[in-house]
């Protein structure tokens, strides 16, 4: 009986001690399991090649010649929808990053057509009002929404003078890998930032050129040698709602 009492299983001191040991080993093991992937990811992140970020030496912009924009042509709108994975629906709840405006002068009867999208303001009201900083302007002037910290308050949509922002009202499917979107967040024209960062032009610009209109010129407004800079220097371009003094990146001719 005495021998039985001395067996490790029944030792009142040995049991908690071994339990503590086990817990210690388990804790170290768990820590290893939890930390290792993070360390590994950190290594991967460190090893990633350095990518040049947006530079304030560049100011991306567009010059839209409403005289060349054909009434009834919606190729830019279709190209935007295809490029960015938008449904193309026109219900009041559907997102529209670019739309065609038909404008009629009520006094003279003159009719114009032009595309309207985020004007990528230098002083964007949407960025001013965003409580979390999810609406932001890149150094190169492109105004974007950080989908990770947008809380869906919709203040930016209220504040945009151009009605250029949309709210995602329903679950999304078939999203494009390059164009993150999310239900319950705000969104707008990104100036096809994923294409621009690859050295390409926004989809609407290419579509307009392909349609033979060439009404949209895209380029660096800070580069005096760029075509867009030469054109805005030679012809009197206008900003929509110019009196707000927002210094838009999108300029228009013939309005």
């Amino acid at each position: 009986m005495k021998h039985d009492h001395n067996t490790p299983q029944s030792d009142p001191v040995a049991t908690p001690s071994s339990r503590r040991g086990f817990l210690g080993v388990a804790a170290v093991g768990m820590a290893g399991i939890l930390l290792a992937p993070g360390v590994r990811l950190f290594e991967i992140a460190q090893a990633a090649p350095a990518v040049g970020g947006a530079s304030s030496k560049v100011r991306w912009g567009m010059l839209i010649d409403s005289g060349k924009c054909a009434s009834g042509c919606t190729d830019c709108v279709k190209a935007c929808n295809t490029e960015n994975g938008l449904s193309g629906g026109t219900l009041p709840t559907d997102s529209q990053w670019i739309r065609k405006l038909d404008i009629k002068d009520t006094h003279t009867g003159a009719i114009q057509s032009l595309p309207m999208m985020c004007q990528h303001c230098a002083e964007p009201p949407c960025v001013d009002v965003c409580p979390t900083g999810a609406s932001f302007k890149r150094a190169d002037g492109i105004v974007l929404v950080d989908k990770h910290i947008c809380i869906g308050c919709r203040y930016c949509i209220m504040a945009c003078p151009y009605k250029a922002r949309s709210f995602v009202h329903e679950p999304l499917t078939h999203q494009k890998p390059d164009v993150p979107r999310g239900m319950g967040t705000a969104e707008a024209c990104t100036l096809c930032v994923h294409r621009v960062d690859r050295g390409e032009q926004p989809a609407c610009v290419n579509a307009c050129a392909d349609a033979g209109h060439g009404a949209i010129i895209f380029g660096n407004l800070n580069d005096p040698e760029s075509e867009i800079s030469k054109r805005v220097a030679s012809y009197p371009s206008r900003q929509i709602r110019e009196n707000l003094n927002l210094n838009t990146g999108v300029r228009y001719l013939g309005i």
Binding site: V77, T90, L91, P92, T93, D94, S95, Q96, R99, K100, L101, D102, I103, K104, D105, T106, H107, M116, P125, V127, D128, V129, C130, P131, T132, G133, A134, I149, C150, I151, G152, C153, R154, Y155, I157, M158, A159, C160, P161, Y162, K163, S166, F167, V168, H169, E170, P171, M183, G184, T185, A186, I240, R241, L244, I255
Partner: protein, 407 residues
């Protein structure tokens, strides 16, 4: 017999029935929030044209009323009107309850309410909405501090400090709420420095109306008779606040009428905009302004409880009409991208946007009111917010001696 503050006495069946009713509404509110969060805002009537809908109207009503409900506490402890002293704790409780309910409503109407915590971790200090987060928490905190100084022994020496901070925050908070709209340069209805002071003026009226109704209901249940002189004081104060609110609404519209660029919007809101002119003239001006003024400006108003209940209830009806016109009307009217030109597009440019709130939005709205009601009812039951007497003789006696507080 001196005035003593006590928990709600002799809880009757009606208390529990009302409590159960509020809980049911709050449960429906919770279910609505989950439903909208799962399916998205597509299930509501809000869209890319009417971005902020009926829940915003209710939330702004609660936020304005919260600051206005504190008026009695401010009159007591800041402006030295000792006759209101026994009602000051209820004023603070109602202010906190309505503020919490308003903030919860705003939070649950977010596209991503699950990310509300991000708003407390990422601040853009140029955003009025970000300022408001500090204004909400400060107002609730200082009002709670004020209540503590009233109710805890030995804390009275901090009462003036607490109410001063609450006053500053009250002005800041209502200015902030008004500026959320007033600082929007894009919209015809906003883009005006007048919106913030107009909201302060309206908050005085809305908050006092809510306070008077809650006070009368609570006193009826508590068994304390409110004296005629006290009722007359509250009624006169309400009449003054209605007048101040109407003055600011008048100046706001006069300013807009003067600027040619706002004429189309003003014509829409005041004359040819369908339901909006109706809500403005019939709801805001007549029901929310003229009729309550006529009811309250009676020489013997102190003896006319039903008139006071009717007048304060009408002020609240007028409040909803005013805020609906201010918030929804501003979005129904199209943005003016090209002044003097007619604009059409697939994105509803240049058109009057229709909006009929869905049942879900009504449930969110009434849920917000129910949350405020529940907080007040529980507060009244747990802590000594209600005076045992409010008759004129007791008030007269209390002016000679400080109010005793039961903790």
């Amino acid at each position: 017999m001196k005035i003593v503050l006590r928990e709600l006495q002799a809880t009757r069946r009606g208390y529990y029935q009302l409590l159960a009713g509020l809980v049911v509404i709050i449960l429906l509110f919770g279910a609505t929030v989950l439903y909208i969060e799962h399916h998205g805002h597509i299930v509501t009537s809000m869209n890319n044209q009417i971005v902020w809908g009926l829940p915003d109207v209710f939330a702004v009503f609660l936020l304005l009323s919260a600051t206005g409900a504190l008026s009695i506490a401010l009159l007591t402890s800041f402006f030295g009107k000792a006759e209101f002293q026994p009602m000051a704790p209820l004023s603070g409780l109602l202010a906190i309850a309505m503020l919490l309910a308003g903030v919860l409503m705003l939070m649950f109407d977010l596209g991503r309410p699950d990310r509300a915590n991000l708003a407390m971790m990422n601040f853009n200090f140029k955003s009025v909405l970000a300022w408001n987060l500090f204004l909400y928490s400060g107002f609730a905190g200082f009002t709670a501090f004020y209540l503590w100084t009233l109710m805890a022994r030995g804390m009275q020496r901090f009462t003036l400090l607490a109410i001063t901070l609450a006053l500053v925050w009250r002005i800041g908070l209502t200015t902030g709420t008004g500026s959320i709209y007033g600082f929007q340069v894009a919209r015809q209805a906003f883009d005006s420095a007048l919106v913030a002071p107009m909201f302060i003026a309206l908050s005085l009226s809305y908050g006092l109306a809510a306070f008077v109704l809650v006070l009368m209901l609570a006193c009826r249940s508590h068994g304390c008779q409110i004296g005629d002189a006290m009722m007359a004081r509250l009624a006169r104060l309400q009449a003054i606040f209605i007048g101040v609110g109407m003055y600011f609404v008048l100046v706001y519209h006069l300013t807009n009428r003067y600027f040619t660029r706002h004429h189309a919007f003003e014509d829409f809101i005041l004359f040819n905009g369908g339901v909006y002119p109706f809500l403005f003239w019939f709801g805001t001006v007549l029901l929310g302004g003229i009729v309550p003024l006529m009811l309250l400006l009676h020489p013997k108003i102190g003896q006319m409880r039903q008139r006071i209940v009717a007048a304060t209830a009408l002020v609240i009806v007028g409040a909803f009409a005013q805020l609906y016109v201010t918030i929804i009307g501003a979005q129904v009217f199209p943005l003016v991208l090209f002044p003097g030109r007619q604009v059409t597009s697939t994105f509803y440019d240049g058109v009057i946007n229709p909006y009929t709130p869905s049942l879900l939005e009504w449930m969110l709205g009434f849920g917000g009111l129910a949350i405020a009601g529940l907080i007040v009812m529980i507060g009244l039951k747990l802590l000594g917010f209600l005076p045992n007497r409010l008759d004129d003789a007791a008030i007269e006696m209390s002016l000679a001696k400080p109010v005793a507080v039961a903790t």
